[in-house]
Symmetry: C2
Subunit: 712 residues, 2 copies
Amino acid sequence: MASTSSLSLSQALLAPAISHHGSAHSSDHHRLSLSTPSLPSFSGLKSTPSSIPLTTSSLRRRLAARQQTQIRAAAVETLDATAETSLVEKSVNTIRFLAIDAVEKANSGHPGLPMGCAPMGHILYDEIMRYNPKNPYWFNRDRFVLSAGHGCMLQYALLHLAGYDSVKEEDLTSFRQWGSKTPGHPENFETPGVEVTTDTLYWEMVVKWRIANEACSLAGHWGLGKLIAFYDDNHISIDGDTALAFTESVDKRFEGLGWHVIWVKNGNTGYDEIRAAIKEAKAVKDKPTLIKVTTTIGFGSPNKANSYSVHGSALGAKEVDATRKNLGWPYEPFHVPEDVKKHWSRHAAEGAALEAKWNAKFAEYQKKYKEEAAELKSIITGELPSGWEKALPTYTPESPAEATRNLSQTNLNALAKVLPGLLGGSADLASSNMTLLKMFGDFQKDTPEERNVRFGVREHGMGAICNGIALHSPGLIPYCATFFVFTDYMRAAIRISALSEAGVIYVMTHDSIGLGEDGPTHQPIEHLASFRAMPNILMLRPADGNETAGAYKVAVLNRKRPSILALSRQKLPNLAGTSIEGVERGGYIISDNSSGNKPDVILIGTGSELEIAAKAAEELRKGGKAVRVVSFVSWELFDEQSDAYKESVLPAAVSARVSIEAGSTFGWEKIVGPKGKAIGIDRFGASAPAGKIYKELGITAEAVIAAAKEVS
Amino acid sequence: MASTSSLSLSQALLAPAISHHGSAHSSDHHRLSLSTPSLPSFSGLKSTPSSIPLTTSSLRRRLAARQQTQIRAAAVETLDATAETSLVEKSVNTIRFLAIDAVEKANSGHPGLPMGCAPMGHILYDEIMRYNPKNPYWFNRDRFVLSAGHGCMLQYALLHLAGYDSVKEEDLTSFRQWGSKTPGHPENFETPGVEVTTDTLYWEMVVKWRIANEACSLAGHWGLGKLIAFYDDNHISIDGDTALAFTESVDKRFEGLGWHVIWVKNGNTGYDEIRAAIKEAKAVKDKPTLIKVTTTIGFGSPNKANSYSVHGSALGAKEVDATRKNLGWPYEPFHVPEDVKKHWSRHAAEGAALEAKWNAKFAEYQKKYKEEAAELKSIITGELPSGWEKALPTYTPESPAEATRNLSQTNLNALAKVLPGLLGGSADLASSNMTLLKMFGDFQKDTPEERNVRFGVREHGMGAICNGIALHSPGLIPYCATFFVFTDYMRAAIRISALSEAGVIYVMTHDSIGLGEDGPTHQPIEHLASFRAMPNILMLRPADGNETAGAYKVAVLNRKRPSILALSRQKLPNLAGTSIEGVERGGYIISDNSSGNKPDVILIGTGSELEIAAKAAEELRKGGKAVRVVSFVSWELFDEQSDAYKESVLPAAVSARVSIEAGSTFGWEKIVGPKGKAIGIDRFGASAPAGKIYKELGITAEAVIAAAKEVS
């Protein structure tokens, strides 16, 4: 709410099929209704072919529409105020002062947004949303995203009032302190009740829309009628009035994007106006809705409201006092008046009842639709079907040469058959990234049960949407794809995957100069190093069929760590000695003619250059050398191995080491040591046929052989 | 033309003051007219205070408006066709076949766009734009950006016909080959006549607008009436029809952004329609114009036109033949018919005349306005005023402690007085990044002569705009700013700075966990490493006053290499031993009590951690150790020093080395070696007061002392 920059919106995008945010009745989609008995109402994701219910998709849709109508009428009833206006105002001021007091105590933080958005916040958490505060992970909850993460005291105050155990009074008083549950921006991995980590630029949202544009465009395209975004229209940016740099018509732009747009002119005290807007938003079923809510940043502060000075620092004791007087707030810091407490206390019981009702429905459903229920349960729990990894393909050196991007598609198609939560797609490069699931159609407005997502050229939004999918339910396994160099356009989203423990699979093809003629704008150089330096990322660069399968095994198993697969455009042979098990250890020996763990030289390669290392080794062995070839497919996984294992692969006594990788040598000194040699590319690439570039830039077996002779 | 994704638009954004692209008359701004003698017409950038002409700004504006009207009328006359339609069609087909033939010979490339956009291309280069093919760097030229870089054969064909020496027939026949002037995407550093390198995602532009949205929003805000963007509306994306993922109303969105929008329904043969649209665009003076031109991708190819198959691969011999027949083209590959050649040949003479006329005017202007002319000349040539570096501030250990972000502002303000081409700003964080030039106002629609640019929260657009400014004229020195972690949002733009040799200065503050409570979403960890791995970037992390001045000296001098300055939020003391000269060598000794180049241990720090290294050294020396402290402010600059210098700082014989930096240790093994120790942060940060985080994560003098004892 008060929100919608990139993350919130994009994570909300899969609403009709999967998720929904900041919207009153959107949980209905997941509600298991048995009123239409022929329809398993968990129709969000198309099942694997063997378990598709025997109803035609048109029938499914018709029934779904009928079901939705019934639900909507019911939902609208809940929109009426649940308390007298005076009590609502008291609750709103409670939210304001919890935020003011917490920021004041921390002497750090952002009071302006919570003060301005408290009315919206109250209505959403008290009147609209369905959740169970005692089980923040209840599957069928409504999901709320505060994209303007700096305003997190708003959400912490709401979670506190609603009865979440994660935000008790001592958590409010330790706002922004080491080890607290209330960090300076909301973090899903710290605070149950926070759905996603909202990062970085989420200032007053008025200037924020440009990041969100990709996601908003898709939301319009997909017609996400259940998505309601609240836009805090307060006219203030950090540098002053937004007119300094922002004079576009947001309304018009969003209409252009296919949204329904409503303007709440009085977001400060217009409670009924806010309620009416939400009603209207719900009535629009085929479009997402933007509710532009005009508010006063820092509402209630007599001297700082409506100015940037209230955005990002404590009000100060004097102004806090003045605000208390101005809003008629006689209480001590962090006080929640008894009537407000009492009013909110019903949510614990109501939430438990909502969950119990849903659980009963699910039990009934389970009896009638055993297979479908089991599938849904696996998505809820994240438990992988036993033996799923048997679907991974294996290869021998006799298998035909193949680009790892093609091998990736073989893996994706094999896995989609056994993993009901696997879904994804590409940013308009499906036929280059090789990401299409052949047994499924396109996820579109009228076919939300399909699993091929067409993201268009929207890399950042694609990553953010996949974060949302991954964090929605443990059993959802999203993948997304583009050229590896284009991770530059989605780096912020990938970092959020890593930080918020979202196990997204990034399928990144065209991973080096091996793409050839498209030239330096398309050729990644520093990208492998840049992700190896990022915390909580698995950077995998498989060399052939077995390694690609191994990379997928690792990626599927790592549900709290995103994986990036760097894949080749060009064909690569299947090498002797590669294995899935090897990939799981990050670095391993693929061939060796030494004994006693004392090779003359160790050649280390990754991805497409492992073949070059293997060729160089053959030549060197002909010359009598004892040569070990190591595949170094994932630095992070190798780092996690035991010292004994590491020593068995890279013995400390052997300093003669040569690495080869068609990318920056930055970081390779750690592996090859001061006496070794790292062969790589520390310049931009060039436009020419791939073989020519490899040769000109010295990424060749000859170079490896020469270096090996030099160091050994 | 056929263009406008991110780069083109954003680079065009400073049109009223600085640049202009793809527009017929936009060079007028730079034209030196003496018809209003009291007005130096180079009013684009406000001069340093001492040389502001003694006219009030309102007078300047009124005069500028009158001048513009005169120019516009003249310009419109050139809009009429310069040849019979049959000859135009022949020229257009020449362009199409040069593209077809070059792609065919390379067996790689993108024929679809040039075939569809050839009519626009012909009209722009033959009828509209003012340029001198024999001097591609003539300052007052019109500037054309092909944002859909993959369609570069369109531009190469046009440069060839127009008589640019950079694209001769042998360059066309070596399209996409090693060492050619005609790489797979346009590269300004390879091909004179190409203004900027257009990278990566610039496919059929219909799906591209989201990247450009930031820049388009600013173009609307600034009212860039001289900017004309051509939008190739061909309905085809790589994955198929754009409707797969893109159904928004582009027209409506752009109107929302404050643009004038025109639709050319027949971009294939509607020459007069295209001409009329340009006329109309010119008549709209206070808004940028989007001309949506509906074309057929691969126009003329009987079996592949209007499909994605013509986007990115050669037509194939059979289809080339069919296209020749279909368009009635009897000629050999790469043939330019004599009448077409003759028609285009006039541009050499005309261009030379345009330049001569301008030069004469400039000479006259120089006589009357000596000071202003000298300033303009320095912007044209890039020659820095002699002694400029004397403006840099210096400090002693007695100078008060200060955050390097504040020191940065002191430097910017000092330099703005002596460097007429220095201008820039922040992405809505001016008061946090400390980037305001105090003697100047805001660059806005009505004040284009000012130098503080308000980018709003648009990091990517900000970087791209600065690339455009840097590449416009050697003497323009753009800087831009945000929090260091937000480089993730603009990484693609920064990479283009590096690749296209644009000497942008990136002022990146809040460079570590030292920012404190805002927490891990705001705390850079891997960013230093990720830029050290990027080619052609100077990554600088100054420690105090002298080092900040040194960083600016380096940044200003490096006009073909972008600099990133990582700056602290927190106060830092001025250390003994730091110097501007030291920074210029990248790594240098700030203190040492050893002799004979044999310290017991070397402590190495950067930025805010250099202080910690210095403190640890003091303690260790008290214990009798011979300790050297090295500031490692820029790895790239140190790498460029002589072996002897490097040995004098980091002697090979001394393996006892400890580094400390509040960021990823990735890459530090190169510096500290296998027996040294790198102290850093290989996890995400946390929300808490800065001092607490430093302590909890072990970035302390105690940790350095312990490590030093361990390794020495």
